[in-house]
């Protein structure tokens, strides 16, 4: 067992929301507090779009920051994999904020849903009972990690709302398609729109989350505004951004990265330190914001959420179903 003694620089759970409010009021002090330079200020100055309903979010005490060191806001919002807006980590923050509109936003629920239909995201948030804050670890398949205070609601709530029929075995998520606004989507080889899926029991797991905010503010475009999936026990690419459709289906969806390179990325994508990526080790991870000599920390099974999700995969060969 690992016993973690909190260090004096670690943020308490209670510090998260106040810091965000502080950031909105006085961004220069915030950046200083985050131990960073000047450039991030540009991002904080931008008008937030996305889903604005439900703020300020209530804090869900079941998912506190605890001893985790929360990643600074400007790193979370300027180090992104969102290939629709460019392949480099700094591309999305530039290209997703050149007029791409994420408000208003309609999300369609279909497939084998007993309650199908189209909803405005803000209305949907209202119907599902508002949003809450959860601090989750985030582990990218590229072996880096963050700790992110998300705002949003449990995916299970949406599943219940949609009333899937008994034949439905999987949930399929579809992202947006807008080749004019998203330059990366002009590359036909990706087969956009981005697609992801979960097994029904995964979707109903308490951890599965639809995020509409970060740090108590609407989710920025580059992080997948206005609504994205967060499955903290899986690699980040499962967290499909800017969702436009959710369908309940009988067959396992063929997710985008599996289609692009099935030998490297699977359907499950569970964080697993014992199953390496063909090109790098998954045993440990670099902490974003750790600096030049920040070193690495060991990666935990299911990204530290073994207690909540291990039961979903009993009897499944995780080496085969990576």
């Amino acid at each position: 067992m690992r016993i973690h003694a909190p260090k004096d620089w670690e943020l308490a759970e209670s510090a998260v929301t106040p810091e965000a409010i502080y950031a909105a009021r006085d961004r220069r002090s915030f950046l200083k507090a985050a131990g960073l330079g000047l450039a991030g200020a540009v991002l904080l100055g931008r008008k937030a779009l996305g889903a604005t309903a439900g703020f300020p979010a209530s804090v869900n005490p079941a998912y506190p920051a605890g001893s985790l060191k929360v990643t600074p806001y400007d790193l979370i919002t300027s180090y992104n994999n969102f290939y629709e807006f460019g392949m480099d980590k700094g591309d999305p923050v530039e290209n997703a904020n050149k007029g791409w509109k994420t408000e208003p936003w309609t999300i369609e629920i279909g497939g084998l849903a007993g309650n199908p239909g189209k909803w405005d995201v803000d209305d949907l948030i209202g119907k599902l009972g508002g949003i809450e804050q959860r601090v989750y670890r985030h582990r990218c398949v590229e072996a880096w990690s963050m700790v992110i205070p998300w705002n949003g609601f449990a995916l299970a709530k949406l599943v219940d709302f949609a009333q899937p029929k008994a034949e439905a075995k999987y949930v399929r998520f579809t992202s947006f398609l807008d080749r004019a606004q998203a330059p990366g989507q002009q590359d036909e080889s990706f087969g956009y729109p981005y697609l992801e899926g979960l097994r029904m029991d995964e979707a109903r797991n308490e951890l599965a989350f639809l995020a509409t905010g970060i740090y108590g503010r609407p989710i920025p475009n580059q992080n997948g505004a206005p609504i994205r999936l967060v499955t903290p026990w899986k690699y980040g690419f499962k967290g499909i951004k800017s969702i436009t459709r959710i369908d309940f289906v009988t067959r396992q969806p063929y997710n985008t990265w599996q289609r692009l390179a099935a030998n490297e990325y699977g359907f499950y994508a569970n964080v697993n330190p014992t199953v390496d990526h063909p090109r790098w080790s998954q045993a440990s991870e670099r902490v974003i914001g750790g600096g030049l000599f920040g070193g690495r920390q060991p990666t935990l099974m299911f990204n530290g959420y073994e207690k909540q999700v291990a039961g979903l995969y009993q009897g499944l060969d995780l080496r085969k179903y990576y």
Binding site: L36, G37, L38, A39, G40, L43, D74, L75, T77, S78, Y79, Y83, M87, D88, K89, G90, V93, E142, W144, L260, A261, E264, D276, P278, R279, W280, S281, A283, S284, R286, I288, G289, G291, L292, F293, G295, R296
Partner: protein, 209 residues
Amino acid sequence: MSWLARLLRSKALVLTLIILPGLWPAWPILQGNPTVLADPTKYLLHHFGFVACILLATVLCFTPLRVLWPRWDLALALNRHRRLVGVSAFFYAAIHLGFQFLHEGGWPTFWTDLRKPFLLTGLVTFTILLILAVTSLKAAVRWLGGRRWKRLHRLAYLAAGLAAYHQAAARKIFPVQVLWIFLPVLALELARIARERWPAPKAAPPARA
């Protein structure tokens, strides 16, 4: 001789051109670019590897340029710097490897990672560049003798091929930059081989008045 060729003959200028890309990362870091600061070792790792690839590809263009256009003053000027550019490719590769160490957490993962072709090709490329850099010292050239030296230094082409694979494998999606870095070398080399196999007819000696 053209002014450009005269300029490119200067060792000082070429050395400056080689050193500048190494100083470039200071700019986003001092500026506080959050994308770079989020994962600085990855940025530095990729940057130095990228420069090493460019230098390796560049130096391999020099000889075919001279073979194909033996009277072109630019090609001749560039060929004065073969050793300098080649050895700097090695230095950039060494810095790149150093950051790989920092990035991946040192020895424990270093050895296990060598089972992965992506990382093994990188290390083999580096080893070749190391051997070529050491044997580019004057004493080593004398010790080896011209023919053996030349044969040994053909390994540079193997290094280029491995580096191209290594660079392509570093990304989740094939990076197009690999093509524009290494395709010119391939094209020039093929042209050079063709030229050496089927030499151009000797130009008629200038008629005497």
